[in-house]
Symmetry: C2
Subunit: 421 residues, 2 copies
C-alpha cells in the first residue's frame, strides 16, 4: 500500500503540468475574450432592436442570409453542440475552426432581428472549435484532445454566464445521462475560471437575480419539509417542461427538414412565423434573450423575481423559442430555458402557495437541468447565482426535474450512462 505514495511522487511531472498550462491558459483567455466580445455584441444588438422596432421585419431576410452562409460554408459545422459532444466521445475529424465566426455572427443576427434564442450554444461552440484548433497546433493525442475540448466547453459556458464552477461541471456532466466522471475536472475548472475572469476583466457584466424570501430560522424545521415537498412537485412540472421543450424542438425541427429540404428557406419561413406570433399574441416580450429591456413594462427574466404572478409567460416563451430554433436560427437553448423555468416557477408559486421569487429561482435552473440532463451543474449554478441559502430546494427541484424529463435531452449526441428508472 505505501506504493501509492511512490506512484504519486513518480507520477508528479512538472514538465507535463507546464505543457498543460501552455495549452490551457491561452485557450481559456482566448475563449473568454471571444465571449466578452459576443456578450457585448448581443447587448448592442438587443439595444438596437428595442430602439428600432422595424428590425423585426428583417428577421426572415437575416435568417435566410445566415442560412445561406451555413449552406455554402458551414455544412461541416451545422451539427453545432452535438458535433462537439461527439468529438469528445470519439475524437476524430475535429471541430472546424470556422464554427466560431459562423455561430458568433449567426447568433448576433438572430438577436438583432428578434428571434427568441439563447447564447450558451454559441459560447460552447466557440469554446469547442477554438479548443479543437489549439489541440491541433499542440499535436495532442486522442486523450488530450478530449480533455482540451471539454476545457473549451467549460471556458465558454463559465464565461458566458459568469458561473465558472457550473461551467466546469457542465462540461463533464453533459456527455452522458446519469453519470459524471472526474478525469478532466481540474483542466475544466482552470479553463472555466480563466475564461470567466477574462470575460469580466474585459467589461462583461452578468444580470444579478435576487431571491428575497428566506425561511425564518426559528420555524425552519416546521416549514422546510412542506417547502421541499412543493419543490419536488414543482420539479415534476419543470422536468416535463424541459422534456416538452426538447421534444418539440426535435419533432418540429425534423418535420421542417423533411418539408423544406433547402436549408436557407427554413429560417425565412421561421422569421415569418415569429412575426405572425408577435401579432397573434399581441406582444414582443418573448423575442430575443429576455434578459434586458429598456423599461419595466417589458417582461424579462427579472420580472419573475418580483411579486407579480405571470401565469402563461412560460408557455409563450416556449412557443416563440421552439419556432425560432427549429427553423434553423442560430443561438443557444439555455437562456430561453432559464426564462421558461423562472416564468413557470413564478406561475407555480401562485398555485402552490409558495414565494414566487424562490420558485422562479428553482425553475430557472431546474428546467434546464431536465432539458439538458445536467442536474448537478444546475444545482451548482443555482448556488453561484442565488447563494447557498437555497441549496437544498434547488437540488430537490433539479434532481426531480432530471428524473422526470426522459432520456432525449436537447443534446442528441449525449449518451445514456445510467438509465433513469
Amino acid at each position: 500500500m505505501p506504493a501509492s505514495f511512490n506512484t504519486l511522487w513518480l507520477r508528479f511531472q512538472p514538465a507535463a503540468l507546464l505543457r498543460w498550462l501552455i495549452v490551457l491558459v491561452p485557450l481559456a483567455v482566448l475563449v473568454g475574450t471571444l465571449c466578452s466580445a459576443f456578450l457585448w455584441s448581443l447587448e448592442a444588438a438587443t439595444e438596437a432592436r428595442f430602439a428600432h422596432p422595424w428590425l423585426l421585419f428583417g428577421l426572415p431576410l437575416g435568417g435566410g442570409a445566415v442560412g445561406w452562409l451555413y449552406y455554402r460554408f458551414g455544412t461541416s459545422v451545422e451539427a453545432g453542440n452535438n458535433l462537439i459532444v461527439e468529438q469528445i466521445h470519439e475524437p476524430g475529424g475535429g471541430v472546424p475552426l470556422r464554427m466560431a465566426p459562423l455561430v458568433f455572427l449567426g447568433t448576433v443576427v438572430t438577436h438583432l432581428f428578434g428571434g427568441s434564442a439563447g447564447r450558451e450554444g454559441t459560447a460552447v461552440q466557440m469554446g469547442g472549435s477554438l479548443a479543437s484548433w489549439v489541440a491541433g497546433i499542440a499535436r495532442l493525442d486522442a486523450a488530450g484532445v478530449r480533455i482540451v475540448l471539454m476545457a473549451g466547453v467549460a471556458a465558454g459556458f463559465g464565461a458566458v454566464f459568469g458561473t465558472p464552477l457550473a461551467g466546469a461541471v457542465f462540461a463533464l456532466e453533459v456527455l452522458a445521462v446519469g453519470r459524471v466522471e472526474y478525469g478532466a475536472l481540474l483542466p475544466c475548472l482552470l479553463a472555466a475560471l480563466l475564461g470567466d475572469w477574462t470575460c469580466q476583466m474585459l467589461g462583461a457584466h452578468h444580470t444579478l437575480y435576487t431571491v428575497h424570501t428566506l425561511l425564518p430560522v426559528s420555524e425552519w424545521l416546521a416549514l422546510e419539509p412542506v417547502l421541499l415537498g412543493k419543490a419536488a412537485l414543482a420539479g415534476v412540472a419543470f422536468g416535463l417542461a424541459g422534456l416538452a421543450f426538447a421534444e418539440a424542438n426535435h419533432v418540429l425541427g425534423g418535420w421542417m427538414k423533411r418539408v423544406v429540404p433547402y436549408g436557407p428557406a427554413r429560417p425565412v419561413i421561421g422569421g415569418l412565423a415569429v412575426i405572425a406570433l408577435v401579432y397573434l399574441c399581441g406582444t414582443r416580450d418573448y423575442l430575443g434573450l429576455g434578459v434586458w429591456a429598456p423599461d419595466d413594462h417589458v417582461v424579462t427574466i427579472s420580472s419573475f423575481f418580483g411579486d407579480t404572478v405571470y401565469p402563461w409567460s412560460w408557455a409563450l416563451k416556449l412557443l416563440f423559442t421552439v419556432v425560432t430554433l427549429s427553423c434553423g436560427f442560430k443561438g443557444g437553448e439555455v437562456t430561453p430555458l432559464f426564462f421558461i423555468g423562472a416564468a413557470l416557477g413564478n406561475a407555480l408559486g401562485g398555485v402552490l402557495g409558495v414565494p414566487p421569487d424562490l420558485f422562479a429561482a428553482l425553475g430557472f435552473v431546474a428546467v434546464f437541468a431536465g432539458a439538458a440532463n445536467t442536474p448537478l451543474a444546475c444545482t451548482i449554478m443555482g448556488v453561484e447565482l442565488f447563494g447557498g441559502a437555497h441549496l437544498v430546494p434547488i437540488a430537490v427541484a433539479c434532481f426531480v426535474a432530471y428524473v422526470c424529463s426522459g432520456h432525449n435531452g436537447i443534446y442528441l449526441s449525449q449518451r445514456v450512462g445510467v438509465p433513469k428508472t
Copy 2:
C-alpha cells in the same frame, strides 16, 4: 422520439412509488432516531470525560472490553464501513443487524475514555445495517437492496452531520473513485432529508462554524485569482494530509494485526499508547471528537476559525487518531479529518498570508475529500456548513486535494472508477 413521452407515462407507477416510500420513510426515521440517541450519548460521554479526567486511565480496559465483545460476537461485522460498501457493490450475505448496537456502544466507550475518533463511521454503519434489515423484511431484489443500503448510508451521514445533501451525494460518490452515478439519487436524498429532520426534531444540534472573511466585491476580480491559487496550493497539502492519514491507518493497522493477532489485546495496547501520548505531548486537547470543550483553553475545531494560528495541531491530531483507530477502537474517521483539515488550513493561513478562518473552512472539507475520495460531497458539505459565498475556493481545494491523495482512501473496498492521472 415522442416515444419517450409515452415511456415516461407508462413507467410512472404510483404503486411502485408507494412501495418505495413504505420502505424508505420508516428506515430514514429509524436511522435519524438512532443518530439522535448516538449524538446525545456522545455529548454525555464527552461531558463526563471532561468532568472526570481520571476516565482516561480506563481507556485500555474499556477498549479491551469492546475488543472482546467484537471478538466474541462481532467478527461478522468487524469490517465496518467496508462491509457496507462491498454489499452495495455485490449484494450477498447482507449486513448483520448486530452491527448497529455494537458500533454504537463501541464508539461511545471510545469517547467516554478519551480515544481520538469520529462518528461518521458509526452513523454509516448504523444506517447500513438497519437498511439491510429493512431490505430483508421487504424481500427486495439485489437492485433494491443496493438502493436501500445507499439510502441507509445517506440517512446516517446526513443526520449525524446535519448536512443532508452532502449525505446523499456521499452515498453515491463513496462507492468508486472518480465516478458518480445518479441511479439512487432521489431515494438517497429523501432518506438523508428525513434522517436529518428526525434527528433535529429529537433535539440534536450541530456546531456552527462561521467564516467571517469575505472578499470585498469591489476588488473581487483582483483578489480572487490569487486567493484561488493559494487555495490550490493548500489543496495539495490537504490531499497529502488525507493520503498520510489513510496510509498511516492502513500500515499501522496492518502491522498491529500481524504483531498482536489476538484482537482484544490491540485496544489495550492502543489505550496505553494514547495515555503515553498525552504525557509525552503534555496535552489532552487531541482526545475525543475535538468538537466540544467546557472552556476556551481547550483546542477544538472552532478554535481554528479564530485569529490565533496553531502551527502543529493538525499533526498531533493525526498522530492521536491514527494510534487510536489502528489499534481497533471503534469510531469514525471523518470528525478527526475535519479537525486535522481545519487545523492545517489555519496553519497554512499564516504561511500563505491568507485569512486563517477561510482556509480552516477549506481544510475542514478538503482533507476529508482527499482521504475519502469524495470531492463533490465535500464541496456540497462546504456550502451546507459555511454558506455559498466560498463555493469556488472550497471546490478548488476539494478537487485539488482529491487529485493529490492517491487511490487508496480510508475505505479500502471503494473501487477505482476513473483513475486519477
